[in-house]
C-alpha cells in the first residue's frame, strides 16, 4: 500500500462520513427533545431522490435545499403525529421507511429506468480541488455542524429548553415551555439535516440515485447516536469511524487483487456498527422521557 492509496482511502472515508454525521447530529437534537425518529432511513432515501429532481431543475444548490426541505417536512409530519396526536414513534418511523422504499422505487420508474437514475455531471455539486484530491464542500459543513450544535446544546437557553423537554416534560410545562412545540421544531430540524445528508449522497457524492442508496445509513446514524451518548462531538468521531469502514469496504473492492469476496467486504460497515454499539452501550444515558408522548395531566 502506498501513500496515494492511503490518501484515497481517507478521501472516501471523509465523504462517507458526511451523511452519517449530519443525520446523527440531527437525530441528537431530536432525541434530546424526547422524540425517537427511526424513520431516518426513509428520509435519507426520499431526499436523495428529490435532491436529484431539484438539481435537474435549478442546479445543485436547489437540489440540496429541496432535499433539506422535504426532510424537514417529513420530520415535521413525524413530530405532529407523535406530539399532538400521541402516536407510537416506532410505528411511525417504520411507516416512513416503508413509504420511502415504495415512493423512491416508484419515482425512479417514472424518471426512466427502474432502480437507477444518474445525476448529470453538470448539475452535481462541484468539488474543491485540494492537496488531497477533489473534496466536497459539504465535508466542511459536516465538520462544523457538530461544533455548532454542541455549542447550541451546552451554552444557549434554547438548548436548555430542548433538554428540559426531553428530560422532564412536566417540569418544562410548568415553567411555561410548550413541550410539544419544542419537540416539533427539534424533529423538523433533525429531519432537515437528514434531508441534507440524503441530497448530498445523490447530488454531491455518488452522482446517482438507486432505490437502496441509503443502504442502512439511517440506522447506522442511529447507532452513532447511541455511540455518542447524545454528544455531537462524539457523533462526529463516530461518523468518521463508520465512514472509514464504509470507505475501507469501497476501497478494498477497487483493489485489482481480490483478497476477500466482495460480499464479505460489503458486510464490514454493518458488523463494525454492531461491535461498536454493543461495546459502548452500558455507559450511555438517554433522556428520561425519550420515546414517550407528553400528556398533560
Amino acid at each position: 500500500m502506498n501513500w496515494i492509496d492511503l490518501l484515497g482511502l481517507l478521501r472516501i472515508a471523509l465523504h462517507a462520513m458526511v451523511p452519517i454525521t449530519l443525520t446523527a447530529v440531527g437525530e441528537i437534537v431530536t432525541e434530546t427533545s424526547g422524540l425517537f425518529n427511526i424513520g431516518l432511513e426513509g428520509i435519507l432515501l426520499i431526499s436523495a431522490f428529490v435532491g436529484v429532481i431539484g438539481a435537474k431543475i435549478g442546479g445543485p444548490a436547489a437540489g440540496l435545499l429541496l432535499g433539506m426541505g422535504v426532510g424537514a417536512a417529513i420530520g415535521f409530519i413525524f413530530a405532529v403525529i407523535n406530539t399532538y396526536w400521541k402516536g407510537t414513534q416506532m410505528v411511525t418511523g417504520i411507516g416512513i421507511n416503508l413509504f420511502a422504499m415504495g415512493l423512491v422505487a416508484f419515482g425512479l420508474i417514472q424518471l426512466g429506468a427502474p432502480g437507477f437514475h444518474a445525476v448529470p455531471r453538470d448539475v452535481q455539486l462541484i468539488k474543491w480541488k485540494t492537496a488531497m484530491g477533489a473534496m466536497s464542500p459539504l465535508i466542511l459543513v459536516a465538520l462544523l455542524t457538530p461544533l455548532l450544535i454542541h455549542w447550541f446544546l451546552k451554552h444557549t437557553r434554547a438548548g436548555l429548553i430542548l433538554k428540559a423537554a426531553g428530560e422532564m416534560p412536566e417540569a418544562a410545562d410548568v415553567a411555561g415551555i410548550n413541550v410539544n412545540r419544542v419537540r416539533l421544531w427539534a424533529a423538523t430540524f433533525g429531519g432537515a439535516l437528514a434531508g441534507l445528508a440524503g441530497a448530498y449522497m445523490s447530488v454531491a457524492w455518488i452522482g446517482s440515485v438507486t432505490k437502496d442508496i441509503s443502504a442502512g445509513r439511517g440506522f447506522i446514524a442511529l447507532a452513532t447516536v447511541v455511540f455518542s451518548g447524545l454528544n455531537p462531538l462524539l457523533a462526529l468521531l463516530g461518523g468518521f469511524i463508520f465512514g472509514f469502514f464504509q470507505g475501507l469496504a469501497e476501497w478494498v473492492k477497487t483493489l485489482p487483487s481480490k483478497p476477500i469476496p466482495s460480499q464479505f467486504v460489503s458486510m464490514l460497515p454493518y458488523i463494525v456498527t454492531l461491535l461498536v454499539v454493543s461495546g459502548v452501550i452500558g455507559r450511555v444515558r438517554f433522556p428520561k422521557a425519550l420515546g414517550e408522548p407528553y400528556k398533560r395531566e
Partner: protein, 384 residues
C-alpha cells in the same frame, strides 16, 4: 379556546368513543387501510394516472375469481409468517425488524436440502426444520445483545438484515449455485416441494403451513404459561418481574419464536412458490426482498394478533397480487411499487392511536375556524 368550544369538543370525543367501543381496533385498521389507499390515489393522480382505473384493476386482479384468490392467498402466505415474527416480539415489548434477514437465512437453509436425497414428505419436513433452525439462529445474536448489553433491537436486527443479505448473496453465488444457470441457486427437488393446491396457479400447501403456524402461535400466546409471560412482560416489564416472570428469558423466547416463523417464511417461498423453486442471487433475490418489511405492515394492520394477521394478510396479499395485474392494465399501467407506498401510508396511519378521534377533532377545529372567519368581517364593518 373558549369554554364552550372545550365542551363541544369533549362531547364530540365522548360520542365517538361510545359508539366505537368494541368495534374500535378492527375499525381503525379498516380506516387506516382506507387512508393508505387514499394517499396512494392522490399520488397516482399527481403522477398523471387514473386512480379509479388502477384500483379497479387491482381489485379485479386480487379478488374477482378463483384464480385471483389463489394468487392473493399465495402472496399472503409468506407475509403471514413474517408478520408473526414482528407481532410476537411486539407482544413481548420489542420491535424486531429482523424478519427480512432471518427469512433470507431460512430460504438459504431450505435450499441446502437440494444437496441430498430423501423420501417424499420427510424431505419437506427436513427442509422446514433447516429453515426454522436457521431463522432462529439468526435471531439469537440480537436477542442476546439486547439482554446482556442492552443493545437496541431496532439497530441490531437491521444490521443483521444487511449482513444476511450479503451472506445470502455469497451463498447463492458461490455455494448453492445452479451449475447450469449461474444467476439462480439449486432448484428444490420435487420430493421436497409443497404440492400445488389448485391446478394452474401458484397456490400451494404452504398456505396451510402458515395458517397452522398462526393458529399454533395464537394457542401459545393466549393458552400457555409461556405465552402469558411473554404478553405480561410486554405490557408492563416491571410488574412482570415483580410477578416472578424472568423478562430476559421471555425476550429470548419471543425472539426465537419470531426467528422460527421468519425462517419458515423463507422456506415457504423457495419450497412452495412455482415455477422457480429457487432463489435468484443474480437479480438480488426479487422473490424474497421486502417480504420481511411488508410483514411488519401486515402485523400492525392485524393488530399483532394471529387471527387479525390472517385477515390483514389477505388484504396485503391482494394488494400484491392485484398490483401485478394493475401494472399491465391497458392504458393505465401503474408500477407495482405503488403497492408499497400504500403499505407505508397505511402503517403511518396505524401509528396514530385512536385514529377515529381525529375526525371530531378536525370538525371542532373547522368549526372554530369558520367562526373566526365569520367574526372578522363583522368586526371590520363595525369599525367602518
Amino acid at each position: 379556546m373558549s369554554e364552550n368550544d372545550v365542551k363541544v369538543q369533549s362531547k364530540l370525543l365522548r360520542g365517538a368513543r361510545r359508539t366505537l367501543t368494541g368495534l374500535h381496533p378492527a375499525l381503525e385498521s379498516v380506516l387506516a387501510a382506507l387512508i393508505g389507499l387514499l394517499i396512494g390515489a392522490l399520488l397516482m393522480y399527481i403522477w398523471g394516472y387514473n386512480p379509479w382505473k388502477a384500483y379497479w384493476a387491482l381489485l379485479q386482479g386480487a379478488y374477482s375469481g378463483g384464480y385471483e384468490w389463489a394468487s392473493t392467498l399465495s402472496r399472503a402466505t409468506p407475509l403471514i409468517l413474517t408478520a408473526l415474527t414482528f407481532s410476537v416480539c411486539v407482544r413481548a415489548g420489542m420491535f424486531n425488524i429482523g424478519a427480512e434477514g432471518q427469512m433470507f437465512m431460512g430460504a438459504m437453509a431450505a435450499i441446502c436440502i437440494a444437496l441430498f436425497k430423501l423420501p417424499v414428505g420427510l424431505h419437506l419436513l427436513v427442509g422446514l426444520l433447516f429453515a426454522a433452525v436457521a431463522g432462529a439462529l439468526w435471531s439469537v445474536v440480537p436477542a442476546v445483545l439486547k439482554v446482556t448489553r442492552g443493545v437496541s433491537e431496532v439497530i441490531s436486527t437491521i444490521m443483521f438484515n444487511w449482513i444476511a443479505r450479503w451472506l445470502a448473496l455469497y451463498i447463492a453465488i458461490y455455494i448453492l449455485v445452479d451449475p447450469s444457470r449461474a444467476e439462480k441457486t439449486l432448484t428444490i427437488p420435487v420430493t421436497a416441494r409443497f404440492p400445488i393446491l389448485m391446478r394452474g396457479t401458484d397456490f400451494s400447501y404452504s398456505f396451510l403451513l402458515s395458517v397452522f403456524v398462526a393458529l399454533v402461535l395464537y394457542f401459545v400466546l393466549w393458552h400457555t404459561t409461556m405465552g402469558y409471560e411473554v404478553r405480561a412482560a410486554g405490557l408492563n416489564p416491571t410488574a412482570a418481574r415483580y410477578g416472578g416472570i424472568r423478562n430476559k428469558r421471555t425476550m429470548i423466547v419471543s425472539f426465537l419464536l419470531g426467528g422460527v416463523t421468519a425462517g419458515l417464511a423463507g422456506a415457504a417461498i423457495v419450497m412452495g412458490m412455482p415455477p422457480s423453486y429457487a432463489a435468484f442471487g443474480g437479480g438480488a433475490f426479487p422473490e424474497l426482498t421486502n417480504i420481511g418489511f411488508d410483514g411488519m405492515a401486515v402485523a400492525m394492520v392485524g393488530r399483532n394478533h394471529p387471527i387479525g394477521i390472517l385477515l390483514a394478510a389477505v388484504l396485503f396479499g391482494g394488494l400484491n397480487a392485484g398490483g401485478r395485474v394493475m401494472q399491465f392494465y391497458g392504458s393505465n399501467p401503474v408500477p407495482l411499487e405503488m403497492v408499497r407506498i400504500v403499505m407505508g401510508a397505511i402503517v403511518l396511519a396505524m401509528s396514530i392511536p385512536e385514529l377515529i378521534r381525529l375526525f371530531p377533532m378536525a370538525k371542532a377545529h373547522g368549526q372554530r375556524l369558520i367562526e373566526r372567519l365569520r367574526r372578522r368581517p363583522a368586526t371590520k364593518e363595525g369599525s367602518a
